[in-house]
């Protein structure tokens, strides 16, 4: 056992820091231009623009420790916004199950951040029970296209997406998990209607997507017909570990301390308040444990082992920690956290606090609700089998 970074890792850390510092956004610069240029420069470093992609597809081929260093450093540096849907969710599916033609067609635009994707899995009656999905895809007689009809819901950023990757039902035979087919569908066409859903944070990020007789060429099917569930499940595992956000939470906790030190209470600050301090400390202890749980999981992956049981803990602990940080931000804002709308009132940070907290309530719902996630651990990790009632 050894927790020190090797000299190579330290050198890497230094290199990452230098890159991030040299390419930070400078006030007044054109943001969109800076963003695309940032990815270009990161690419020139050797695949840093697609850090999680395998080497064979242009990724950097980092060790788990290097990935960890990258996460840590980018969590505290200013990096351009990025969306996970194409880059981290669809791309691995295409790499593992797409054909070469599809890989060549879709991966470069994802890499160049040219095309925005959204994830069309959930439906009104297929949430936690995703396999219950009903959106129908019927293959034409000549086998050249599918006709897709159904409703997707909670589709994040469907209103700005160019494409949607969809789970559709091509057969009702067998168990629900069978007969699901993975299709890629352009968004901007007749037959697709996107309706906004406004969430508690007051924002429009999720949508209802109606598909009516949408024709999808068979070339846009990923893998085999009826095998989509297996592809999607692998993707969900990816999504879950990506949702833990430990490095981001460590940075957010630091930031929260700074904010609390700006909240006056008589002659002291909120950071001197014993109960608030205790809550920050509890949070920090949880994060310390979770950080090492993540490292243990990374280390076992580095040794080529299957992700150990510790990895299943990460999504649960990670999202609950994120929510607690948001809650403490609201508490730090005090009365000002209640202010809403564009006018600045009170502490600057109080403004985003409430909407951040409200949005964070979804973290324990999407990507596998916490209760369902615990079911998965009980079954797959603890090995609990349902007994027959006698």
């Amino acid at each position: 056992m050894d927790i020190d970074l090797s000299s190579n890792d330290l050198a890497f850390q230094q290199e990452v820091r230098e890159f991030l510092a040299a390419n930070a956004y400078k006030n007044g610069a054109d943001y969109a231009e800076w963003r695309l240029n940032w990815f270009k420069l990161a690419r020139e470093k050797g695949g840093w623009d697609v850090s999680k992609w395998p080497e064979a597809f242009g990724g950097p081929g980092w060790s788990p420790t290097q990935h960890y260093i990258w996460e840590q450093e980018t969590a505290v540096a200013q990096t351009p916004w990025d969306l996970p849907f194409g880059l981290s969710m669809l791309a691995p599916v295409l790499m593992n199950h797409g054909n070469e033609e599809q890989q060549n067609r879709f991966l470069p635009d994802i890499r160049d951040r040219k095309v925005n994707w959204c994830q069309g899995y959930s439906e009104p009656n297929a949430g936690s029970d995703l396999a219950n999905l009903k959106t129908k895809a019927v293959l034409s007689e000549d086998g050249s296209y599918y006709t897709v009809t159904g409703t997707k819901i909670w589709t994040t950023l469907a209103h700005i997406a160019d494409w949607i990757f969809c789970l559709t039902r091509t057969s009702d035979a067998g168990i629900k998990q069978q007969g699901i087919t993975f299709l890629l569908i352009p968004m901007k066409q007749a037959g697709i209607e996107v309706k906004p859903i406004i969430t508690l944070g007051g924002s429009h990020t999720v949508n209802m997507v109606h598909l009516t007789d949408v024709k999808v060429p068979v070339e846009n099917r990923v893998g085999e017909e009826g095998k989509g569930w297996g592809y999607a499940k692998g993707l969900l595992a990816h999504e879950r570990t990506g949702l833990a956000g430990i490095s981001k939470s460590l940075a957010a906790l630091q930031n929260l301390r700074k904010q609390a030190s700006q909240v006056k209470r008589g002659n002291s600050t909120l950071l001197d308040d014993p109960s608030y301090r205790a809550k920050l400390a509890e949070l920090e202890i949880d994060l310390m444990a979770t950080e090492f749980t993540e490292l243990r999981s990374l280390a076992s992956a580095a040794n080529g082992a299957e992700p150990g049981p510790e990895s299943s803990i990460l999504k649960l602990k990670g999202t609950e920690i994120q929510q607690r940080i948001q809650k403490l931000t609201v508490e730090a804002g005090g009365i000002y956290s209640a202010a809403w709308g564009p006018m600045p009132v009170g502490h600057l940070f109080a403004r985003g606090g409430m909407s951040g907290y409200l949005s964070s309530r979804a973290y324990t719902i999407y990507g596998g609700a916490s209760e369902v996630q615990r079911d998965v651990i009980a079954k797959n990790v603890l090995g609990i089998k349902k007994s027959q009632s006698k």
Binding site: L200, V206, V330, Y336, A339, W340, M343, L358
Partner: protein, 374 residues
């Protein structure tokens, strides 16, 4: 011992329940939220006609002469509907400050208008540096002949834009956080030097920042004794806490009941969600904490009404518990509704937001736990 309400209070409860049922469906409420004023004048008039706006105003001044139990009945029902009209700011806070601290003249002049709805009041106590300490005040009132001149800044004042008069806590002597040296004044919202900047709050209500620059107020507008205003300030805050806690209990009732109903309707994995034991137990916990909040509400309210020695501690206990459990019940109501719970479309999110704001008003749960432990 008897926890039953009187037959008069039963009638009050029936009429306020009916009002909420008739006027506070979510769609109707959300339309009101979008108006500039943020509430309905018709509803306000109805409340006046039913005598609610004077519920705690002495009979001598046209009111109903009720106590905190009557207010509790109204606020609990308002919590079930997320009622928007400024009853809390005007009657619970403003009218109480005048009724308990104003001269006979001032009461005669001000209170009848509150009762008939033509006069609306609010209460400005918070400041940027005060966080939740009522006694931390830097807004100053200085004597100038027969008047006082007020300079300072008040924060998060409920419904200030539609108020006619504002009760303001000021420092007339002493250091920033001393209890001595505080005086309350009733100023006109349209007086020279009063600058009101309003904004919505996350729960769909209206609040404002208020700048006070050389605002002149005659000494006849002093509420309570000069420099001795803390006691009045605290008793208005106590009335406020009891009322907010009652509203919170009403909101919690909707949240746990909606969750029980929704999980029985919603099916996943070929089961109603309510079949899952982990959800059943969570809902049982939500229900238990709602009942516990209600118990502390009754306890604190009765102790305040009877002026018992432990009343202040019970009020701290109540505000602590309601803040903590309001968050617990709200978060779980959203969680158990899944994606639907995170939308503006279902009502649970709106009740949750109201509970979050209630926690931040008149001291959050940490603040009251510390005061309780002290």
């Amino acid at each position: 011992m008897n926890f039953d309400i009187s037959s008069e209070q039963n009638i009050l409860q029936d009429s306020v329940d009916r009002f909420v049922q008739d006027h506070y469906e979510l769609d109707k409420r959300q339309l009101l939220v979008l108006t500039e004023q943020g509430f309905s004048n018709d509803n306000w008039q109805t409340m006046a006609e039913l005598g609610w706006l004077g519920v705690s105003v002495p009979e001598a001044h046209g009111g109903f002469g009720g106590n905190e139990i009557d207010t509790m009945i109204l606020m609990q029902a308002f919590g079930k509907g997320l009622v928007l009209e400024p009853f809390f700011a005007s009657t619970v806070l403003g009218a109480k400050a005048i009724a308990d601290g104003g001269s006979e003249d001032l009461k005669t002049k001000m209170l009848p208008g509150v009762v008939d709805g033509s006069r609306q009041l609010t209460f400005a106590y918070a400041e940027a540096q005060s966080r939740f300490d009522l006694n931390d005040i830097v807004t100053r009132a200085q004597r100038d002949g027969d008047d006082y001149v007020i300079n300072g800044h008040k924060s998060m004042v409920l419904h200030a834009a539609s108020a006619h008069q504002i009760v303001v806590s000021t420092r007339t002597s002493g250091g920033q956080a001393e209890q001595a040296g505080i005086s309350l004044f009733l100023i006109d919202a349209d007086a020279a030097g009063v600058e009101i900047t309003s904004f919505p709050t996350v729960d769909g209500q209206q609040a404002a920042e208020i700048k006070l620059e050389g605002v002149k107020v005659p000494s006849s507008r002093l509420l309570g004794a000069l420099d001795q205003g803390y006691e009045l300030l605290n008793s208005v805050a106590t009335a406020g806490i009891l009322a907010l806690a009652a509203e919170a209990v009403g909101a919690m009732e909707i949240l746990y009941k909606d969750t029980v109903a929704y999980t029985q309707e919603r099916e996943q994995f070929d089961h109603a969600l309510s079949d899952f034991q982990v959800l059943q137990h969570r809902m049982v916990d939500m229900f238990m904490e709602y009942e516990q909040c209600k118990s502390l509400l009754y306890r604190a309210t009765l102790e305040v009404v009877q002026n018992s020695t432990g009343a202040q501690r019970s009020v701290h206990a109540l505000k602590y518990y309601v803040g903590k459990m309001g968050t617990f019940i709200g978060e779980n109501a959203v969680q158990l509704h899944g994606g639907m719970g995170t939308t503006e479309e279902l009502r649970v999110g709106h009740y949750f937001k109201r509970l979050l704001v209630i926690d931040a008003q008149f001291g959050n749960s940490d603040h009251h736990l510390a005061l309780f432990a002290a």
